[in-house]
């Protein structure tokens, strides 16, 4: 039997021990991720392989109208960095949350003495670690394979990555609450995501100011892509601090938070 105090103690926050608990949980989240090598490979490897393939096919061809002398593989490097963040923080996270909810894992965690904020923070931080790893791998591909091509403005790039991770993590949590069951999570999340990616300029350039750019501008995917492109100075002369894109992403992220606050459920929906 438990030998802890028999007098009920009030309050939830335990100071440093709770923060330590977050670190411990992040380690277990990472362990869970790496113990599924196939899942880890497809999460991290897909964008890398795609970037290398598209970059090789593109060769020295130009990115297209609106991007001046920029090369297509340079364009792809920026867009696939945006993709990597969205894949980890939005697609993988939301599907993970739906699966865990429907398997009863979230309910079990909720019934443990570990505070909710600590459990969720660990999941989100682990997701961001994976996103950062993805960004690092893609930057390495840019440095080694695309002639030492790196972001033109490092601080703007870092800010864009951070805002992108936070916004798409929040969106991923929010969208997970809309998915009724684990079977629906693949079609609902992946298909919508890939459609948005296709029309937001992941695979082909979209001329800034075009109708497609305006339509895709209503969705957050386009804004992360253009913000990362801006930090690479694409198109040439663009302000690397893409404040408008960052604000729109943050607003979408706030929407995700509101959705999560309204609809979050620890128990399986069985929908």
């Amino acid at each position: 039997m438990s030998s802890t105090s028999s007098t009920p103690t009030r309050g939830s926050f335990r100071g440093l021990s709770d923060v330590t608990m977050v670190g411990r949980q992040v380690r277990y989240e990472q362990l869970s991720f790496w113990l599924n090598p196939l899942g880890a490979f497809f999460t991290l490897g897909f964008s890398t392989i795609f970037l290398v393939l598209l970059g090789a096919i593109a060769g020295n061809s130009k990115a297209g109208s609106g991007y001046g002398d920029a090369l297509l593989h340079q364009y792809y490097l920026a867009t696939f960095i945006a993709y990597g963040i969205m894949a980890a923080c939005f697609t993988v996270l939301s599907q993970t949350l739906v699966n865990r909810r429907e398997m009863g894992l979230l309910k079990r965690l909720r019934l443990s003495p570990v505070p909710t904020w600590s459990l969720l923070s660990a999941i989100f931080l682990s997701t961001m670690v994976i996103a950062l790893l993805q960004v690092g791998i893609l930057l390495a591909v840019g440095a080694l394979g695309f002639g030492d091509y790196m972001p033109g403005h490092a601080l703007a790039f870092i800010l864009t990555i951070v805002v992108g991770m936070l916004s798409f993590t929040a969106l991923g949590v929010g969208v997970s609450t809309l998915v009724p069951n684990a079977d629906a999570s693949g079609p609902m999340i992946s298909i919508v995501f890939f459609l948005l990616l296709a029309f937001s300029g992941l695979y082909f350039t979209i001329t800034p100011g075009s109708t497609l750019a305006q339509i895709s501008g209503y969705f957050p995917v386009r804004h992360l892509i253009t913000a990362v492109l801006a930090s690479f100075n694409l198109p040439a002369g663009t302000n690397p601090w893409a404040w408008h894109d960052l604000v729109v992403m943050a607003l979408w992220g706030a929407g995700g938070v509101l959705l999560a606050l309204r609809r979050w459920q620890w128990a399986p929906r069985r929908g």
């Binding site: 039997m1 009920p8 103690t9 939830s12 362990l31 869970s32 009863g104 079990r108 019934l111 003495p113």
Partner: protein
């Protein structure tokens, strides 16, 4: 102070009343079973006691605190263990890893290897969870419920899906915990589980408690009629028997008697048989089973039960 105190508990999901006016207490160190058909409100009741779900009305105390009180919820959760109805174990960890992770949630957990041995998974300690059989995963689930060294353990249908030996192993774990002083509250569909484990049982039907007591006495089971059966000996006419035989009491040579005074009747019958040199072949004394009592108590309106299932 009881481990669990429930007074006039009510819970609604919209217009559907999942639990209404439920009252019972569970004493410390007791194994208490909550029986009832699907949708009767068992899981809802347990979830309210765990602090997982808020109630609509009534008073509830778990280990002396209101489980809905957020300020003491963390304290409470260090002292309770939960085995959920659904199997909920991460597939990629090994048995040791998942127990080790959960042990870290508690201030004074049981040693991981001790729990692994207790649930009979020593040989599988370093096996991935996804490679375990369904029964082994269920046992691991029980291990996760007890890893925190709980004072009070909630088991929601803990042996569903287990084979007979797995069920017996789980029963032994529960008995061991109970003998060490852990209070156990379980829900189950299995009558033999209740008879094997529970000190007391309450039957929940149509969202209310319809009976409670020991497994031997619930629903007046201990004072109800017993059935005595035997084969009429060769060469003996019914009128020769030392006890009166009611109309229809003999069928195809089988005698069936119903009585609330089985001791006297058996004494007369066996005394007569010994004196006269007869054999009462197939002599049996059948008390009404717990299942008979349960079925009688839970004859419910189907539409209401179905409504509760939908709500949950």
């Amino acid at each position: 102070m009881p481990a669990v105190s429930v007074q006039h508990l009510a819970k609604s999901y919209g217009d559907t009343q999942a639990v209404r006016d439920v009252s019972f207490e569970v004493e410390k160190g007791e194994v208490f079973a909550l029986l009832g058909p699907n949708g009767a409100g068992k899981t809802t009741t347990i979830e309210i006691l765990e602090g997982f779900r808020d109630r609509s009305g009534g008073q509830v105390e778990t280990l002396g605190v209101d489980p809905a009180d957020r300020s003491t919820q963390r304290w409470l959760r260090t002292r309770i263990g939960v085995v959920l109805q659904e199997l909920a174990v991460e597939p990629y960890y090994t048995v040791r890893q998942v127990l080790g992770r959960n042990a870290g949630f508690y201030p004074s957990p049981r040693p991981v290897d001790e729990v692994i041995a207790l649930i009979g998974l020593t040989e599988k300690a370093d096996e991935r969870v996804k490679r375990l059989s369904g029964g082994q995963q269920r046992r691991l689930d029980v291990g996760l419920g007890i890893i925190g060294n709980p004072e009070l353990l909630f088991l929601d249908e803990p042996t569903t899906g287990l084979d007979p030996s797995g069920r017996r192993d789980t029963w032994n774990v529960i008995r061991e915990l109970a003998s060490a002083g852990t209070t156990v509250m379980l829900t189950t569909h299995y009558m033999d589980e209740v008879e094997a484990l529970a000190d007391r049982v309450a039957v929940l039907a149509q969202s209310v408690i319809v009976a409670s007591g020991t497994p031997a006495s619930i629903g007046g089971r201990d004072s109800s009629e017993v059935t005595i059966r035997f084969t009429l000996p060769d060469g003996v006419a019914p009128a020769d028997l030392p006890v009166p035989i009611p109309a229809g009491g003999i069928h195809a040579g089988q005698v069936e008697l119903h009585t609330v005074d089985e001791l006297r009747l058996l004494h007369e019958l066996t005394g007569w048989a010994l004196r006269e040199g007869h054999i009462l072949a197939g002599l049996s004394v059948l008390r009404v089973t717990l299942e008979d009592t349960y079925l009688r108590l839970t004859e419910t309106a189907p539409n209401e039960t179905a409504a509760n299932e939908t709500a949950q």
